[in-house]
Assembly symmetry: C3
Homo-oligomer: 468 residues x 3
C-alpha cells in the first residue's frame, strides 16, 4: 500500500489545495538543479552499484543515525565506522533491522518523508518499514541495487538532474571529476571550491595543508601574497571542472576587511599555529572578503554556511570523527558580522553572495532586511535541520515580506544521500506551491503571478544565483 | 449557557477537525499523569474544604493577578498577602468582584480557557463571568466548596489523576507526605527533590540552609564531601515518598564539570557568602553535573527549568515576596551551556535529563538538535507562559521535525492551581490532537500512526520520562 | 480589472472567513486614528498638489527604493537626491518606468498591497503595473494629482482621518503646525516631541543642537538642570500643538537611572564630545527615565522605538544620507534593559510607555510578560518591516496569550507615504479580524466578544494609549 499521499504538503483548505495542486502540476517535472550538495563524484565516475540498503540509507545519513543514537542505539551498531578500533557492525541486514524496528522514531520528521519517497518512487517498495517488513524491504531493495537501472548514472538520469554540484576540498585532486570529464557521459556533475582546510587556522594540520596547497598550485604559500595567488589559481583549476561557486563553512558569519599587513601577520601566525581563537576568527572573516574580491574577478558565487558548533560531543568525535550528527546550531549575528564584507562589495550588482543560516530568528530580523537592500546579497534556502516542510515554510513566511522572492536563491538539497535528492526537491516544490497557493487564497498574490513565481522558485532562481 | 465549545482548539478545516476529534475521543478520558507541579500536599493530607472562590482562583494564581496588576489593580486589593504590613483586602467577595469586572482582560489568554473550564466542568457554573454575574458565580462556587464532593481528595479522584507530583524543598520535612503515606487514601501523591535552597549560593540564607541540611541528613555539610553525601541521603529520603525526579530552577542553563578541588573551593566560598556572581553561577552549573552523576546511581530523572529572571520588580518583591508575576524570561543559550554536563553523561542511555526553556527561539535551533542526538537528553513540554494553545503548537512545530516525538517528555501542568489541572491537560491533549490531525491531512503522518502517537503524548511518554 | 480581492487577508477556511468578514464590516469604516507617523505637516498647511507619481510613490518610500536597489538599480536612477553632487534622475516618468518594469519584485510584500490599494482606491486605477502599463498609470495618476480633490486636505478628509500625528524634532519651530493652528481647517494634525537630536550624544552636532535648544527655550542648557528644564518647556510648547506623546528612536532599549551628579557629569562630557560609546549609551538610557518622570507630570505618552542599526551601508550614507533603506534590525534585549526605567515608574497606573521592537523573538519571551505585569508598559504594534500581514499576525500570535489585548496600543501606520495610510489601516484591520475569527472558530473567544475586541483594536486602544 502506497505510503505517499499524492496531495502531501498541500494546504488543508480545499480551495488552496486545488491551487497548490495546479501550481505543482506545472513544475513537478522540471529538471532538478542541484547547485550545492555533498554527493560523491566517484559514484558517477565509476558507476558501480550501490552497496546494500543499510549502507545506502542508514550508515551514511547523519539525520538517520543521530535519531537512532538519541534513543540509545550505539553508532557502532549502525555500522558507522570507528576511528578508535572498536568493533563495528558489518552485517547490512542486522543494521537494517535495527533501523526498521525503530522506524516510528521518524514519525513527523523530514527523514520519514524522504525515506518513504525513496522506497516508493526509486525502488517501488510501498510497504511501511517496521520490524515485520524489514527483511522484505531489504531483499527488495537489494535486488534492485543489483540491476543496471539502479546504478548511479542511471538514477541520475531517471531523477532528471540537469546539473549536480559536489563540494570538494581545495586540496582535492578532482580525480573523479577528471574521469567524468574524460568520459563521454552526458550527465553534468560539477565541483565547488571549498577552501576551509586551507583557510581556517583552526583546521587540524593547517600548515601542512597550506604547504600542499603551494605544491598543487606552484605558488609560494609561505608568503601571504603567494597564498592569495594560490587561491586564485586553484579557483581557476576548479572552474575547469565546472565550478561556478565557492563554499565556506564557518562557525559564525563574521567578516573582516584587514589591511594587507595585518592579514599577512595573522596568516604567518596561523602557519606557526600560534593564532588565538579570536585571531583565527578574524582571519577566517577576512578571507571571506578576499574570496569576495576574487569572485568579482572570476564571477564565482560565494556561499557562506554559518552558525554550526561542530562536534559538540567529544566522545563521538574521538570515536567516530566529524559529521556524526553532533553538529549543533547556535545563535548567530549577521548584521554586524557581514558589515565589513558588505562595505567592500555589497553594492556590486554582478556579485552573488549566498548566505545560509541555522538561526531562524535572523530570517526576518537580519537576513531579509540585508538581502532586501544590498544588491550582492542573496538568501540561501532553509538549511540542514530546516530542510523540512515546516522549516521551508517558516523561511518563506519570514523572508518574503521584506526580501521578496527575487533576493532568494532557489532550493539546495545539500545532501550526501543520493536517493533522497528527488524527495527533497519534491518536498521543496510542494511547500513552495502551498505557500504560493495560500498567498493567492488570501488575495496577496494574483493566481497568474503564482504560476510564474513557481517556475522561478523551482528552476530559474537557482540557475541565476549559481550562474548555471 | 456553556462557554466551552466542544470542538475547541481543533483545526478549522473540516477534514482535519474530524480527524482531531476522532483522535481526541481515544485519549480524552485517559488518566492524568502529572509528574511536575506545585500543588500543596497539605490539601490532600488534610482534605479540608478549599476556602472561598477568590482564594481558590484569584489570590494564589500569578497568571490571574499579574494580568489584573498590568491594568493598574493593586495586588493588595486582590488579597495577595503583603510582607510589609500594608493592609490587604480580606473580603473574598470584594476580590472576586474586582476580578469579574475585569474578566475581559483575559480574552485570548490560556487563563480564560482554564477558568471557564473549571467553572463549567468542576463547578457546573456555565455563565460568563462579568460584573453582572460576579455574585451569582461566587455564591454558586461557594456553595459547591462546602460540599464533600468538592474537597481535595474527591476532586483528585474526579479528575482521574493517576499520579500527582508536588515539588518540595530539600529542607522540607515532607510532613504532609508522611501523613499521606500513613493514611490509607488510594491517591498517589509523590514528592520531587528540589534542592535550590541548598545548591544555589545566591539563595538568601544559603549557609544556614546548608547547616540545616547537615542536621537533617546527619552529614557534615561543612565539608564538600559531606555536602555531596547529604544530597545522596536526602534524595534517598525523598524517594521514600515516591520521588522519581529532581528539579532545578536556574537563571540560565549553564553547566560545569569542575574537578573536586575547584568545586570544594567554591563551595567553601559559598558557605562564607563570598562567591562573586560568576562563581555562584559556576557552582550552580557544576552541581547540575553532580546531580546527574547521582541520578546515574539512583535513577532519578533530572529536570532543569532554566531562563527566568526572577523578581524583576523590586517594589513587588519587597512588598509581596517572590512568585508574584514578575518573573520574566530571558534569552538563554543551551548549546555551550549544556556541553559540560552532556560531555559527562550525555551518552548514558538510562539517564533522563529533561530540559525546559522560556526562550522559544532555542526549540528548533538548539534543543531539538541536542535532544535529537544525545540519548540522555529529553525535551520538556512548553513551559509557563507557553503552557497555552499557541505555545504548545509552536513547541510541536519547532521540535518535531528534528527531535521527533520520542525525545519529548509528555505534558506537565506545572501548576499550583489545582482546579486548573483538568483544564490544562484538556488543552494539551486537544492541541496535540490538532497537530497530529494537521500532519495527517498534509500526508505527513499515517492516520493509524497518529492514534498511536496520541497515546504516547498523553500518557506513555510522561510515565517513561519520569519512571512512573 | 481590480487587483484587490475583497476578501483579502481573511482566513482560507470558509467558516472563519465568514466571521472575519462580518467582523470587518463593523470596523471597516471607523475613522483612522494615526497617533504615530512621519507625514509632513507642510503638506496640510500648504495644501499644494502632490508632485508627479514617481515623487509620490517611489522617491520618498524607502520600502520601494530599497527593494529596487537590492536588484542592482541605483538610487540615483530612482531620483533619490544625493548629498555628493552626483547626477540624479529628474524625469518622473523615467523613474516610474524603472519602477513599473520591476514591479514583480514586490510580489508577496506589503508594499505591493499598499501600492495596489492606493492605485485602486485613491486614484481609481485598476490595472496591474508593469512595463506595458507604466505610462497609462503615470498619466492617470498625474491627471488625478492636478485635481483639487487629490490635494492633501481633500485626501485627509476622504481617508476619514480623525487625528494624524507627525513626528517633529525638539528643535523644529513647528511653523507648519502654526499655520495649521492659525488656519480654520478642521483636520486634526498634531505633533509629537522627538528629542533625539538633543538627547543622543552620538548625534552629529549634539553640542550645537543643545545650544540651539537653550535659545529656543530660554534655558541655560550649559547646565544639566537647565537642560532638563529646557525639555520641560519644550514639551509644553509641543503640547500647544496637540502633542500627547514623545518618541525616542534608540539603537537599543537600554534605560538607566543615574543619580543627578553622574547624569550631569555625562551630560558635560556629551557637550564636550568626549563621551565614549558606552557613556553615550548610558546617557540615552538615563534620559528615557527622565522623560518618563516628565511624563508623570505632563501626561505625555512615552514611545520607545528600539533596535535598529542605522545606516549600515557607509557608501549610501555618504552619498544619500540617512533613511535610505539601509537601517537593519538587530537582536535587542528588553528584560535587563528596561529594568531601571520600570523600577522607577513601572507601577504607575496613569503613565503609558509604549515599546516597539524590531526583534520579534522578544514578543513572547520578554515584551508580553513585561507588559502583562507592569501597569505602565504597553506593547506598540508590529513595527517597520513587520508592518505586514505576517508580521502583524505573528505579533498577535506571540503576545496575546500572555499580555492579552488590553496591554496593546492599537495600530500605528508610522509612514511618510501619505497615500498608503488607508491601505495600512486596511491591512491591520483585516489581519486583526482574521486573527479574531480564528480564535472564534477555535472556541478560544466568544463571537460577541470578538466584535467588541475588533472595536478596541481598531479604534479605542489607540485613543486610550495616546490620550486622544
Amino acid at each position: 500500500m502506497p505510503q505517499l499521499d499524492p496531495d502531501r504538503l498541500f494546504p488543508a483548505d480545499r480551495n488552496s489545495r486545488d491551487i497548490a495542486r495546479a501550481l505543482f502540476e506545472t513544475i513537478e517535472n522540471l529538471p532538478i538543479v542541484s547547485p550545492h550538495g555533498h554527493t560523491d563524484p566517484r559514484w558517477f565516475a565509476e558507476n558501480a552499484p550501490f552497496p546494500d540498503p543499510a549502507r545506502l540509507f542508514v550508515t551514511p545519513d547523519h539525520y538517520v543515525f543521530r535519531m537512532l543514537c538519541s534513543q540509545g542505539i550505539r553508532l557502532e551498531d549502525l555500522g558507522v565506522s570507528a576511528l578508535d578500533g572498536r568493533p563495528v557492525e558489518t552485517d547490512g541486514r542486522a543494521i537494517w533491522r535495527r533501523f526498521a524496528e525503530n522506524y516510528h522514531l521518524f514519525r513527523g520528521t523530514p527523514s520519514r518523508l524522504w525515506l518513504d519517497h525513496a522506497f516508493e518512487t526509486v525502488f517501488g517498495w510501498t510497504g511501511r518499514l517496521s520490524a515485520e517488513t524489514a527483511d522484505h524491504a531489504y531483499d527488495h531493495i537489494s535486488a534492485c541495487l543489483a540491476k543496471p537501472e539502479f546504478r548511479p548514472r542511471a538514477l541520475f538520469e531517471r531523477f532528471n538532474i540537469e546539473v549536480l554540484a559536489t563540494t570538494d576540498s581545495a586540496l582535492d585532486d578532482l580525480a573523479w571529476h577528471q574521469v567524468l570529464k574524460d568520459d563521454g557521459w552526458s550527465g553534468r556533475v560539477i565541483t565547488t571550491y571549498r577552501p576551509d582546510a586551507v583557510l581556517d587556522p583552526d583546521t587540524p594540520g593547517f600548515a601542512a595543508n597550506v604547504e600542499r596547497f603551494g605544491e598543487l598550485t606552484g605558488e609560494n604559500t609561505f608568503t601571504y601574497d603567494g597564498y592569495l595567488a594560490a587561491h586564485r589559481k586553484r579557483r581557476a583549476y576548479f572552474r575547469q571542472f565546472g565550478a561556478t561557486a565557492t563554499d565556506h563553512g564557518h562557525p559564525n558569519a563574521r567578516t573582516e576587511n584587514l589591511d594587507r599587513a595585518d592579514a599577512a601577520r595573522l596568516y604567518h601566525k596561523a602557519l606557526k599555529g600560534t593564532c588565538a581563537a579570536e585571531e583565527a576568527d578574524v582571519f577566517r572573516g577576512h578571507m571571506l572578503t578576499e574570496m569576495a574580491r576574487m569572485s568579482l574577478d572570476d564571477g564565482m558565487t560565494l556561499q557562506i554556511h554559518a552558525g554550526s558548533m561542530r562536534n559538540h560531543n567529544p566522545a563521538v568525535m574521538r570515536g567516530f570523527g566529524p559529521d556524526k550528527g553532533f553538529d549543533i546550531p547556535r545563535r548567530t549575528d549577521f548584521v554586524a558580522a557581514l558589515k565589513p564584507l558588505l562595505t567592500v562589495v555589497g553594492m556590486e550588482p554582478d556579485l552573488t553572495i549566498i548566505v545560509f543560516t541555522l538561526d531562524e530568528s535572523v530570517y526576518a530580523r537580519e537576513l531579509a532586511p540585508l538581502a532586501g537592500a544590498y544588491p550582492a546579497l542573496t538568501l540561501g534556502p532553509a538549511w540542514w535541520f530546516y530542510d523540512s516542510p515546516d522549516g521551508m515554510r517558516r523561511y518563506r513566511d519570514l523572508t518574503t515580506e521584506t526580501a521578496g522572492f527575487y533576493n532568494t536563491a532557489g532550493f539546495n538539497d545539500d545532501t550526501r544521500a543520493f536517493c533522497s535528492i528527488p524527495a527533497r526537491h519534491d518536498v521543496a516544490r510542494r511547500v513552495d506551491c502551498a505557500y504560493l497557493a495560500d498567498l493567492v487564497t488570501a488575495g496577496r498574490l494574483a493566481e497568474d503571478e503564482a504560476f510564474d513565481v513557481a517556475q522561478d522558485l523551482t528552476y530559474r532562481l537557482a540557475k541565476k544565483a549559481y550562474s548555471l
